[in-house]
Structures are given as structure tokens and as C-alpha cells.
Amino acid sequence: MSVSWESINEGDSIPELKKTPGVTQLVKYAAGSGDFNPLHHDFNFFQSKAIGSIIVHGRFKYATLGETVSNWLGHSGQIRKISCQYRGMDIPDKEIACKGTIKRKWEENGEKLVELSVWTENEEGKSTTPGAVIVVL
């Protein structure tokens, strides 16, 4: 799948990506990223105990927002900028929906640019990781 400039309209949604990361997925992410903070795999870690659970890496959610945009682009463009804020904790084995909408589409210095609002939503429909992405097609 790839996306064409003509087919993009402000206000459109991009295909949603749903994930239910369990502990095993978080362990894989720890190994892949090099982030072995026990808050993301050890229920006996003092901070996990205080929170009541281990939590999903903020950067796992950041990466899944990247994956959502990458899946939409289908390698027909590149990400120029991707950002997010970790506003709410997510715990393992709960569904996370990664979403995005087209905020702006414009041309600048001969480049075709698109800005998206992206976020992850928990099972209660609350946005826990709001972010923004700029892509060049």
C-alpha cells in the first residue's frame, strides 16, 4: 500500500493500528531498544509496586505511532518530524489504538508536506500519547 498526494484530504483519518502489548512484547521492545528499565518488565521493582503494575514504555507507544504512519505511507514518503507526549500510563494486556488524522497539507520550497495529529487511545477512549507528525511525500 502507498499513499498519493492527490488522495490526501485535511480531516481524513489514516488507518488505525490496534495492539495489545503483553509482557513478552515489552521484553522484545526492551531488547530492541536497549531500554531495560525494570518499570517495564519487573512487577517487583519499587516503582512498579508503587504504581500497581509495570507500564508500557512511553517510547513503545511513540514507536507504534511511527508504525501507524509508516503503514499508511507505505514507503511513498518520509517522516520529517515525529513527536509525542506521555500523558497517561498504559499497562500490559490492554488494547491500545493508534490513530491519526490529516491536519494540514501544503507545498513549500517544491516539497509536498502533510501534518498529522496522532495519538494512542486506551480502552476507555482516553488519549494517553498525543503527538504530531510531519511527512514529506
Partner: protein
């Protein structure tokens, strides 16, 4: 949790601190490990042939992946894998850490085979109040990634929350 945490002059003096350069490796195996960690099913992030067919010179680094630090036991940080001297040492005494936010700006494509040199800078320090956790220290860092050809390929701005 800190009721009366304050940023001291000594902590403030660390703003502007810069690390020495350190290497983040982007290899086929490290890209695959990251892609697998996120849960990608797109073959472009696993298979060299699929990557070349999609127009890349090699397996591309998925969005937000800027390589893996080289781990040396006894030297590198055992938790975050960073080499010595790559993280600013602020004597704040706050035991809890959370991630606040991340922004990555790209200036070129990063692919397996690239060797990125990173320099981290402490851009700012400030506090935030939280009902649950008291006064929190926020560290704003900026990491610049330069590839083997001397080109800045990415800048990553991050916020750490200590409480």
C-alpha cells in the same frame, strides 16, 4: 516523591552540558530487533531485498529508532545501555523516573550499516507540580546524531521526569 524539591544553583549550572561523542550502531540485526520489539509486520524492516525494492539502500531504521548504543559491561549503563559520560549527572536525589515526551526531527534516511555518532546536551531544567507526586524535576535534553559521512541525520529532543 518530593514535597519541597528545588533546583539548586549547582543543578542549574549543568544546563548547557554536552556529552562527548558516542556511537549508536544501526545494523541489520539491530533494526530487525527494534522492528520486532514494536511489532512491525512490514517486510521492509526485516528483509534486505524488500527494502531495496521499496527504494532504500539497505533495511531502513523504523521511525523513532536511532540505533543501539554499544554495550560494554562494567562501563555502559546497565539499565539504559548508554556509554559512560553520555548522560548528564544531576545530583537531584529523586528515585523515580518517567518519560515525559520525545520529538525526533529527521534530515536524512537512516539505514542498516550506518554508524551514528551522538552528542547529548542538557537543554533545560525546570520543575512541574503534580497532585500525585509532588514537585517533579523535568530534564530537557537534545541529542544530535551524525552519520559516517559527517551529516546530521536526526535531532532528538526528550523530556525526563524525576520525582
Amino acid at each position: 516523591m518530593a514535597e519541597n524539591f528545588e533546583i539548586t544553583d549547582e543543578m542549574k549550572s549543568k544546563i548547557g552540558w554536552e556529552s562527548g561523542p558516542w556511537v549508536c550502531e544501526v545494523t541489520s540485526t539491530s533494526v530487525r530487533a527494534f522492528a520486532r520489539g514494536v511489532g512491525y509486520t512490514d517486510p521492509v524492516y526485516y528483509d534486505e531485498e524488500a527494502a531495496k525494492k521499496a527504494g532504500y539502500r539497505n533495511i531502513p531504521a523504523p521511525p523513532t529508532y536511532l540505533g543501539t548504543p554499544i554495550f560494554i559491561p562494567g562501563q555502559s549503563d546497565d539499565t539504559f545501555s548508554f556509554p559512560p559520560g553520555s548522560m548528564v549527572d544531576i545530583n537531584h536525589g529523586l528515585p523515580n523516573l518517567l518519560d515525559g515526551g520525545t520529538e525526533t526531527e529527521y534530515f536524512d534516511t537512516i539505514c542498516a550499516g550506518d554508524n551514528l555518532t551522538c552528542v547529548t546536551k542538557l537543554a533545560d531544567l525546570f520543575t512541574k507540580e503534580s497532585k500525585g507526586t509532588g514537585t517533579m524535576l523535568i530534564t530537557a535534553t537534545e541529542a544530535t546524531f551524525t552519520n559516517q559521512d559527517g551529516k546530521v541525520v536526526a535531532i532528538q529532543r526528550s523530556q525526563g521526569i524525576f520525582y
